[in-house]
Amino acid sequence: MSDRIIPITMPKWGLSMQEGKVNRWLVSAGDPIQTGTEVVEVESDKIAGVIEAAHGGLLQRQVVKEGDVLPVGALLGVITESEIAESEIETFVNDFQSRFVPGATEEDQPAVAPEIVTVDGRHISYLRRGETGDPILLIHGFGGDKNNWLFNHEALAATHTVYALDLPGHGNSDKNIDDPTFSGFTKVLLGFAAALKLKEFHLVGHSLGGAISLSAALESPDRVKSVTVISSVGLGEEIDAEYLRGFVAANSRKELKDLTRRLFANEELVTRRLVDDLLRFKRLDGVRSALEAILSFLLEGDRQRTVLSQDIKNLRMPIRAIWGEKDRIIPASHATAIGKDVHILPSAGHSVQMEAANEVNRLLRF
């Protein structure tokens, strides 16, 4: 296999992804590209995302058509560093196709599966990826789960050991919550790190997870090496209380679909499966009362009850904020409470780590 020919393959976003649909090509065959150029948009059963070029050069060939559905790992296109003979590309493609076995990569590698750890008598589900570097803990937001990091987890795992956990009341963790406050969740988060024997770690938190990360940094500054908050709770009073209450109350796909769309600038990203999974989560025994308990702490009237902006000024570790400019849940202006290291990404909404995953992954350097 020539070093000068780089395949673009169907990514695996999240544990359940087995195939993806090629939505559209963003670069024409023969066009020059650079590292990071958005090349092709792909849709899994949950959400659509963009594949960026891992290497600069030329997009030599679009092997598949828009609308094609292909298994994870399948060849989508070919990048070369420079012009090369058509026959060489032909050989490369034929070679790839003859060797490619759908699902084979999964069987070759040890399966990545969620694990359970007991923290204060409560089961916490988490997914660990990566073997090297300082640990990073990914903390999702209100009503979310560890799959909210599906576009980020693997990218970060190239250089770090990355844990995505389900907060109590969420995902596959136990649903009972005795303390729905920032400090209650902080206790669980620090207990989780202790249970896994992580001495020092970076925290990356989305929305409610951002406030929990900041609260953990205040509680245990020696262990927290840095904090990245994404579209975070706790940095100002404004919040879309109607969304939060609606999310807790929603019982049908239709209601939930309309609400979930508010999380994204591009509403088309919300697929049936994403909404279905949320609905399935919300139906589990104990979830509704857990969400109601958190909400009663989060909100005072229609505003956020607890703002940490003053407290965090004393923190000494690096803190950065990433926000979607079009966040409809929590305004991007709250990011200024963090200080200098602030990144507002245009044309992204509240779930910016999903909607602008590649840009967020580039910012997540430790």
Partner: protein, 337 residues
């Protein structure tokens, strides 16, 4: 965590979890325990197709064997429900339900209404429906329309293991009498089902797939037949919306009307006899409420108006097939005024 289990296991798990959660839940039916004189699991037959197998080992006397006298034990279950228990009674085949119509239609269905809301009847009657089991005319019908007709009863017809578990848990927690129809050909079907308990609300249709060209509403096992037809139609570029009402009483009319407002074309697939069935009911509702949206006549694919044949080849012809659903759907698509 979700893992793959069968429709039959999902039903068993729903009963087991509710019995664990609430000690007023009991289960009863013919051979639900056994009756052969052994003890515990060894003797637990678990009903005619083994759906309740293992429950006796877990919950002992809260699982009861009943005599082969449907009128007696369905009456007992309804009476126990009025007195504070939450019985889950298994009545082998819906075809045998006729002998307990008074208990169901005229007692259970009426108590809450006639006692001004002071009495509740939280009973669940589980029963098998459907053709394709080579069990002849008296063990193969889909009689849910009879029960849908009666105010005061709730009628649940799950089509997947996930729905079976969540709907049965909701049925057990519900304070009204619920008839829970299990298509026997679905028992082996597997899908992802969470280990935890969850309840699916009644009256909430499941939109199985979205499409703009035509709507298919399908009941119970026919959901899978409709999906196969929709897969075939997709190969010809036709986008079908498939709706599973999941409960026929209450019925989620809004989801059907919303879909028809978009597609203008409706096919209903109902395995039951064609006269006065759920299909005709939905067709009438759509005809009344969405006449202006329709671009073609509402069309129903049902079994013919005959008893379910015992002959294999005739029984196969009797059941609506994906090919028939596809052909009818294409006629509806090609219709012009």
């Amino acid at each position: 965590m979700a893992r793959k289990i069968s429709f039959k296991q999902a039903i068993n798990e729903a009963i087991a979890q509710e019995m664990g959660r609430d000690e007023t839940v009991i289960a009863m039916g013919e051979d639900n325990v056994g009756g052969m004189g052994g003890d515990g699991e060894k003797d637990a037959w678990g009903g005619v197709l083994g759906v309740t197998k293992g429950l006796y080992g877990k919950y002992g006397d809260r699982i009861m064997d009943t005599p082969i006298s449907e009128s007696a034990f369905i009456g007992a279950a309804i009476g126990a429900a009025v007195c504070g228990l939450r019985p889950v009674a298994e009545l082998m085949f819906v075809d045998f339900m006729g002998v307990c119509f008074d208990q169901i239609f005229n007692q259970a269905a009426k108590f809450r209404y006639m006692f001004g809301g002071k009495a509740v009847t939280p009973v669940v009657i589980r029963t098998m429906i459907g053709a394709g089991f080579r069990a002849a005319a008296q063990h193969s019908q889909c009689l849910y329309s009879l029960f849908t007709h009666i105010p005061g009863l709730k009628c649940v017809i799950p089509s997947s293991p996930y729905d079976a578990k969540g709907l049965l848990i909701q049925s057990i927690r519900d304070n009204d009498p619920v008839i829970f129809f299990e298509h026997k050909l679905l028992y082996g079907l597997e899908s992802d089902v969470p280990e935890e308990s969850y309840a699916i609300p009644f009256g909430e249709a499941n939109v199985i797939r979205e499409g703009d060209d035509v709507t298919i509403v399908a009941i119970g096992r026919m959901v899978h037949v409709a999906q196969q037809a929709a897969d075939d139609l997709a190969k010809e570029g036709i986008q079908t919306e498939v709706i599973d009402p999941r409960t026929t009483s209450p019925l989620d009319v809004d989801t059907i009307l919303d879909s028809v407002a978009n597609t203008g074309r409706l096919v209903i697939v109902d395995e039951s006899h064609p006269r006065c069935n759920v299909g005709t009911d939905i067709a009438a509702l759509v005809g009344q409420k969405a006449f202006g949206d329709l671009k073609a006549p509402v069309t129903i694919v049902s079994a013919p108006h005959v008893p379910v044949p015992f002959s294999d080849s005739l029984e196969d012809l009797y059941i609506p097939s994906p090919a028939r659903v596809k052909a009818v759907t294409k006629e509806v698509l090609e219709y012009s005024k």
